[in-house]
């Protein structure tokens, strides 16, 4: 039942899937990895972006990726507002955001979930585009084109974001604020504005990520819950805030998921990411590419 061909199949599909997971985790890698915001609502925002893409595609027949690009500025503003609210309520008071910060984001996630249900219903939604539903055959292997699209776009996104963080002034400022906020303040820069900007970026990249999410498979309002495990698994395994790490960790997760899927069946799939996450947290909490002890 198990053969080399099957394994090869699983690995190839797993790598493609992994790149897609990297794309949906990038935002969290910035917001949680670099800014230390316990952003549990990230997957809910992701699903919300997917519904935005669905709306534009369904109503105006816009290509999903283009639609993702359209909603990116809106998401950026939304991210700015969300961070402002979080900052004013928690970080500014200097109180430990701990319990309440997490509760806050869970509350937000639930509100987003219900608003989606009230607006779009609980049914699964999908988008239409010329490349969805077709496949590319190499010998016996069948690779869905939508996975290739996700792979290409996700890789481009990761590279662009990594370049942004390492080459531009603002990107370097974001990494600086992650390292030592106090030092930044002493240099005369305003760490809060930089963090707000970074959180905006982290939310903005969800536009394209949300488009990919709904291209790869149909979405439903509760989908975010499954992605809590995947995104946090990737970000924690990567070592907080490392973009290259995010890509590598996401590919490991993707390959692991497809292999388990082939061997044991789809019903075990939801547990993989969470089990890996638990393992990483218990054994190597600083991740594969940890930035600090």
């Amino acid at each position: 039942m198990f053969s080399m061909e099957l394994l090869l199949d699983a690995v190839v599909l797993g790598v493609l899937l992994g790149c897609f997971y990297a794309a949906v985790s990038l935002g969290l890698s910035v917001s949680f990895g670099l800014l230390d915001v316990p952003h549990v609502a990230h997957p809910a925002f992701l699903v919300m972006a997917s519904y935005g893409v669905f709306f534009l595609n369904d109503r105006f027949d816009i290509d999903p990726l283009l639609a993702g690009l359209f909603i990116t500025p809106l998401l950026f503003l939304f991210g700015l507002a969300a961070y402002r609210l979080y900052y004013e309520t928690f970080e500014k008071r200097g109180s430990d955001a701990g319990v309440r910060g997490i509760a806050f984001f869970f509350g937000i996630a639930f509100i987003v979930e219900v608003l989606i249900i009230l607006q779009f219903g609980v049914d699964q939604r999908s988008v239409t585009a010329s490349y969805i539903g077709k496949a590319w055959r190499i010998g016996d292997m069948r690779i869905p084109i939508r996975m290739l699209v996700a792979f290409a776009v996700a890789s481009a996104m990761t590279i662009l974001l990594a370049l942004y963080l390492s080459r531009t002034f603002m990107g370097r400022a974001i990494r600086a604020v992650a390292q030592d906020q106090e030092a930044l303040r002493l240099m005369g820069a305003n760490p809060v504005r930089i963090k707000q900007w970074a959180f905006g970026i982290a939310t903005a990249v969800l536009g394209i990520a949300g488009a990919l999410l709904i291209i790869v498979a149909p979405v439903d309002p509760m989908l975010g819950r499954a992605y809590i495990g995947r995104t946090f698994c990737v970000v924690v395994m990567a070592g907080l805030g490392s973009m290259t790490g995010t890509l590598v960790a996401a590919i490991i997760l993707g390959v692991a998921e497809t292999i388990v899927l082939t061997l044991f069946g789809a019903s075990w799939a939801p547990a993989i990411s969470f089990a890996m996450l638990l393992g990483v947290l218990a054994i190597r909490p600083q991740g594969l590419f940890g930035r600090r002890s």
Binding site: F110, V114, L278
Partner: protein, 319 residues
């Protein structure tokens, strides 16, 4: 026994007597049906705050413990036909073991890592149960209620009374934890874990102990749910809504005192029951989310904090 303790025990007795009278006087099934859910949430919220409130560890695995309690009962009644009391006791033991395991695995995790780890645990257990054919797998399983025991007239009434007993048990344990050396240790651990460790508070042992107690109570609270619904399936038994509801109830009530989660559970539980009947279950979740955010932002100490602040203002006005 101190004055406060005497008052507490009188209160508990009055509560139980009132519940027992209710089951004898009221014929209509609905109050018990709705009341059961509220009582169940009181147990869960009180149990949650032993770890989440006193120690400040946000356990997001309430649904893991609750669901495991449900499935312990399902397994026992299917495999051996054990009576309800045995199911609950077994669930408490299973919950304690799981709590112990959680405590060990998450020993060094703090803040959001602990929360995420507990969510992870929930999903892993849920997936395992989903793949376990004997207890029904993903499709769920029908439960047959045994005949009801006198003096109760219906099974729901009996479950209602059983859950009320669990409420008293949970509150007693939570109260003891709060006022004993454990409560002080957990409080110290919450304020500054490192400092507590340095001054000789056995932080790790306390944390594991809190996990065990809290887990046993949550699991026990879940055990009667299978008979209550006459049905169990993994996706509703392990639903994250339990985790968020219980978290919201504890934070809304306030976690510094055992009364907080009780108040929060009564307030939010009643609201939820009313909303689910009058509007829809979606409105229910929306209100849950909005109230959680509102309280976390505007009233960080919860209802207890608000009440204390009002009391302080009055006192301040008089002097």
């Amino acid at each position: 026994m101190s004055r406060a303790s005497i008052r507490f025990w009188i209160g508990a007795t009055v509560f139980l007597v009132a519940i027992a009278l209710m089951t004898q006087v009221i014929d209509n099934e609905y109050p018990f049906f709705a009341g059961y859910v509220i009582l169940q949430f009181i147990v869960l919220a009180v149990a949650w705050s032993i770890l989440g409130g006193y120690a400040g560890y946000v356990n997001f695995g309430t649904s893991a413990f609750f669901g495991l309690g449900v499935y312990t009962a399902v397994f026992l009644s299917k495999a051996t036909g054990a009576p309800l009391a045995v199911q609950i006791a077994a669930a408490a033991i299973v919950g304690a073991l799981l709590g112990f395991a959680v405590g060990l695995v998450t020993l060094r995790m703090q803040g959001i890592y602990f929360s995420i780890a507990t969510i992870a645990l929930t999903i892993i257990i849920e997936t395992t149960v989903t793949n376990w054919r004997f207890v029904g797998g993903a499709a769920g399983i029908q439960m047959q209620r045994p005949p009801v025991m006198p003096p109760f007239h219906s099974y729901v009434q009996m479950l209602f009374f059983v859950q009320a007993l669990l409420v008293v048990l949970a509150v007693t344990i939570a109260r003891y934890t709060q006022i004993s050396w454990m409560g002080r240790g957990l409080q110290a651990l919450k304020d500054d874990e490192l400092a507590a460790e340095c001054t000789g508070v056995p932080t790790l042992r306390l944390k594991v102990l809190a996990c065990v107690i809290s887990g046993a109570l949550m699991c026990a609270a879940g055990a009667p749910a299978a008979m209550y619904l006459q049905y169990a399936d993994p996706s509703s038994a392990f639903n994250l809504n339990y985790s968020v509801s219980v978290l919201a109830m504890s934070l809304i009530g306030g976690t510094a005192h055992w009364v907080g989660p009780v108040l929060g559970a009564i307030l939010l539980g009643t609201t939820q029951q009313l909303l689910a009947v009058t509007i829809s279950s979606e409105a229910n979740v929306l209100v849950l989310g909005v109230m959680l955010v509102l309280f976390v932002v505007a009233a960080p100490e919860g209802l207890i904090g608000l009440i204390r602040r009002i009391g302080r203002n009055r006192a301040g006005g008089r002097t």
